[in-house]
């Protein structure tokens, strides 16, 4: 399975990458919004793990672009962000996010589990 992780905090991206690679998935990390879109178009992943506060292009814009892309619009996007405001969650869900998780609220294993669930659902 191909997974794109869009995350500017390298230490956090590494944790997710390590956990997912352990179960045999291909993981690509994009550390800003622009790279995220380029990588998504190149890779056409099975699932995208998306942070919201990103350099160059915000996660919301990335989400909007992805959902407007014929080839990518069906790829499930799991938002994993520390933005926890109701309005942020609502906005992301409206833009087409599959799930939304506040990082600090969940143990890493739970996040990994949710990503896997999204992968299964995307089949």
């Amino acid at each position: 399975m191909k997974i794109l992780i869009v995350e500017d905090e390298e230490v956090l991206a590494k944790v997710i990458q390590e956990k997912l690679e352990r179960t045999g998935d291909d993981v690509v990390i994009a550390s800003d919004g622009e790279r995220a879109i380029v990588a998504a178009r190149e890779l056409v992943p099975d699932v995208i793990v998306l942070d919201l506060l990103l350099p160059k292009k915000s996660g919301f814009e990335v989400l909007k672009t992805l959902k407007a892309d014929e080839e990518l619009k069906l790829v499930p996007v799991v938002v994993v962000s520390n933005l926890g405001e109701e309005s942020d969650i609502k906005h992301a869900m409206e833009l087409g996010a599959t799930d939304y998780y506040v990082k600090a609220e969940h143990p890493i294993n739970e996040i990994i589990e949710k990503i896997k669930e999204a992968l299964i659902r995307s089949k």
């Binding site: 905090e9 230490v11 956090l12 944790v15 390590e18 506060l53 962000s81 520390n82 933005l83 926890g84 405001e85 109701e86 506040v102 990082k103 600090a104 609220e105 143990p107 890493i108 294993n109």
Partner: protein
């Protein structure tokens, strides 16, 4: 008619040289003359004036006597006077009532001369009609009496003092004012009676000036005391009294009790002052304050209205607030009018337009003021400029957002890496290492909890938190929440039970409900000793039913969290929902708590229009009750 004095009455000859001359003289006198026998009291002769005075003919009078021409009740006095005259003790009998033939009475002064003729005594009486004088004297007397009566009825006291400052006269009004009768005050000094000790020096000065004839202190306002001990305020007017040589022999005073008058004036002055203060306060208020008639026409606006709207006050008066309004939807204004016409208070945020076209945000508050008939008499409108407030709110929201992201990222990093260490991702840990890492992980979670609490409080206080009810299974919510505490429950061997199954889905905001339950369950577990019990139950409660010592006002879902824990000490129960408050025994049991949990529970419950309360006994346990009204939550979904 002829005068046949001597002949007919047998008077001795030669007494009067010329009969005719005598008659002429006798008749020409304007005063009435009557010649009477002292012994028989019969008239021997009368003149024409006398005849006219009495209305009898001379002939008739010659057959009458003294006793026939006076009212019978006055007769004893008349005869006494007649005798006195006969004995020459008096010459004039004054004010003698005389009865005329026609029954009318007139008064006469009778001046008589005793004449002795032939050893017999006669009285020659000159009658002078004094009715007129008597009547005018009577009129004066009556008017004096009336005046006296009027004076006694006046509320103005009248007092005359001798030169030793002792009471000489003291009228009825003075009696009424001071309660002392004239008898009680006669010859008394005002000191020790009506002048309080404290006022004596002031009175002494006035009195000395009066004695010196100085009238500069003619008017004085001072306190007096009454017989029954009341202190009254009196207005005195004083004049020195002088003898014929100009020496001061005393003083005359008029006095009026002005206590009520002064009080009324004071009250009036105070209320005028209050009104002025009120107007100043209204004018200096930072809000726009207006008063309108029931149709919305503006009767009054404060000064700040000019600052808000840009319109001068005189342009606003008489217009409606539409002058600077009309920026909201038709719907908004309809709802506003419907509310205030229903005599309810309207509150809402409004955008208005200044005279220069600029816009401002305001919090609008309209209260109907009802008249005595219960109908709307006025509307009181207050606009609070919230442009600044909105900026502050914006800043707060930005801070919340920043804090949540910036602080959560390092917490997430710590937590995730510690989790990996614990899972052996970096190799197996020794027992001691595992113990240390677990402690670090717990601290990271605690940091996250504190941050979360702070964020909840900030969001609750900025009004950022909104309720979004959805239909959900309470039993599932309860079980999920309990699941989060599985480790603590297992470690403390707490007996947990839950009875929320079988209820139909209930509309509730799942996130807020979860936070409330997390806090209540977390407390129950935290403050319950090992092997204690925690029980969670849910039940419908009808309006008016009694739950946990309280009456539920409307049909509600009541969630109960009961524990066998340390309880809340009686003295702390009142403060338990206060921000940062922690009961003493709770501080001992868990030193790390932040005192925000129950504050958040209370605020969030209020946000859901519910109520939360508890029953607790120290050392035995606590039961929290959370009542959420069914109707309100049904409506929210629809």
């Amino acid at each position: 008619m002829t005068f046949s004095f001597r002949r007919k009455q047998g008077l001795p000859e030669g007494s009067f040289t010329e009969d005719k001359e005598f008659k002429l003289l006798f008749d020409s006198l304007l005063d009435g003359l009557a010649f009477a026998d002292v012994e028989t009291k019969r008239f021997l002769a009368v003149n024409e004036a006398f005849s006219q005075m009495l209305g009898y003919s001379e002939a008739e009078l010659r057959s009458m006597g003294v006793t026939d021409i006076h009212p019978s009740d006055a007769l004893p006095h008349v005869l006494e006077e007649f005798e006195k005259q006969a004995r020459r003790e008096i010459r004039i009998a004054r004010d003698i009532p005389v009865l005329r033939k026609d029954g009318r009475i007139f008064y006469a002064d009778i001046n008589s001369s005793l004449i002795v003729l032939g050893g017999k005594q006669y009285l020659l009486g000159t009658f002078r009609d004094v009715t007129e004088r008597k009547e005018s004297e009577e009129a004066v007397r009556r008017s004096e009496e009336r005046l006296e009566l009027e004076i006694s009825r006046l509320p103005i006291g009248h007092v005359v003092w001798d030169k030793d400052f002792k009471v000489v006269t003291w009228n009825a009004a003075a009696e009424k004012i001071f309660g002392f009768s004239f008898g009680e005050m006669k010859g008394k000094h005002p000191y020790g009676t009506i002048v309080p000790t404290a006022v004596q020096p002031q009175v002494e000065i006035v009195w000395h000036k009066l004695l010196q004839g100085d009238e500069s202190t003619a008017n004085s306002l001072n306190e007096n005391i009454t017989k029954d001990g009341r202190t009254i305020l009196c207005d005195w007017t004083n004049t020195p009294l002088r003898d014929k040589d100009g020496m001061v022999i005393g003083a005359m005073s008029t006095v009026e009790d002005v206590t009520q008058k002064v009080k009324a004036e004071e009250a009036l002055r105070k209320s005028a002052e209050e009104l002025k203060k009120f107007k100043m306060a209204v004018d200096s208020a930072s809000d726009l304050i207006m008063l309108t008639d029931p149709a919305g026409k503006i009767i009054f606006v404060n000064k700040n209205a000019e600052h808000f709207t840009g319109f001068p006050r005189e342009e606003i008066i008489g217009k409606t607030p539409a002058l600077w309004g009309g920026q909201m939807s038709e719907d908004f204004y309809q709802k506003m009018w419907a509310t205030i016409h229903a005599k309810r208070v309207f509150e809402g945020q409004i955008v208005n337009r200044r005279k220069d076209g600029g816009r401002y945000d305001a919090e609008l508050h309209i209260s109907p003021i009802l008249g005595p008939d219960g109908e709307v008499a006025y509307f009181l409108g207050v606009e609070q400029d919230i442009t600044k407030l909105k900026e502050v709110d914006q800043a707060k929201s930005e801070f919340i957002s920043l804090a949540s992201h910036q602080l959560r990222t390092p917490i997430t990093t710590m937590s995730w890496y510690l989790e990996m260490l614990l899972e052996g991702d970096a190799g197996a840990l020794s027992k001691k290492q595992e113990d240390y890492v677990e402690k670090l992980y717990a601290a990271a979670r605690q940091m996250n909890d504190i941050l979360k609490s702070f964020l909840y409080v900030l969001r609750l206080e900025t009004g950022d938190m909104k309720v979004h009810p959805v239909k959900m299974d309470l039993a599932k919510l309860g079980q999920e929440t309990l699941e989060e505490f599985a480790v603590s429950i297992r470690n403390k061997q707490i007996d947990v039970s839950e009875s929320c199954s079988g209820l139909s889905p209930f509309s509730i905001d799942p996130d807020i409900a979860k936070i409330i339950l997390q806090n209540l369950i977390s407390n129950a577990i935290k403050y319950t000793p090992e092997k204690g019990s925690v029980h969670i139950s849910c039940a419908h409660a009808a309006a008016g039913s009694s739950v946990g010592g309280r009456e539920v006002s409307e049909e509600s879902m009541v969630i109960t969290v009961q524990d066998s824990g340390i309880g809340i000490p009686q003295k702390d129960q009142e403060k338990i929902f206060t921000r940062f408050f922690r009961a003493d025994n709770a501080k001992t049991a868990d030193p790390d708590g932040n005192g925000l949990g129950l504050y958040i529970v209370n605020k969030m419950t209020a946000l859901m229009k519910g109520s939360v309360w508890f029953e607790s006994e120290e050392g035995k346990g606590t039961t929290f009750y959370l009542a959420l009204p069914l109707n309100q939550h049904k409506e929210s979904v629809a």
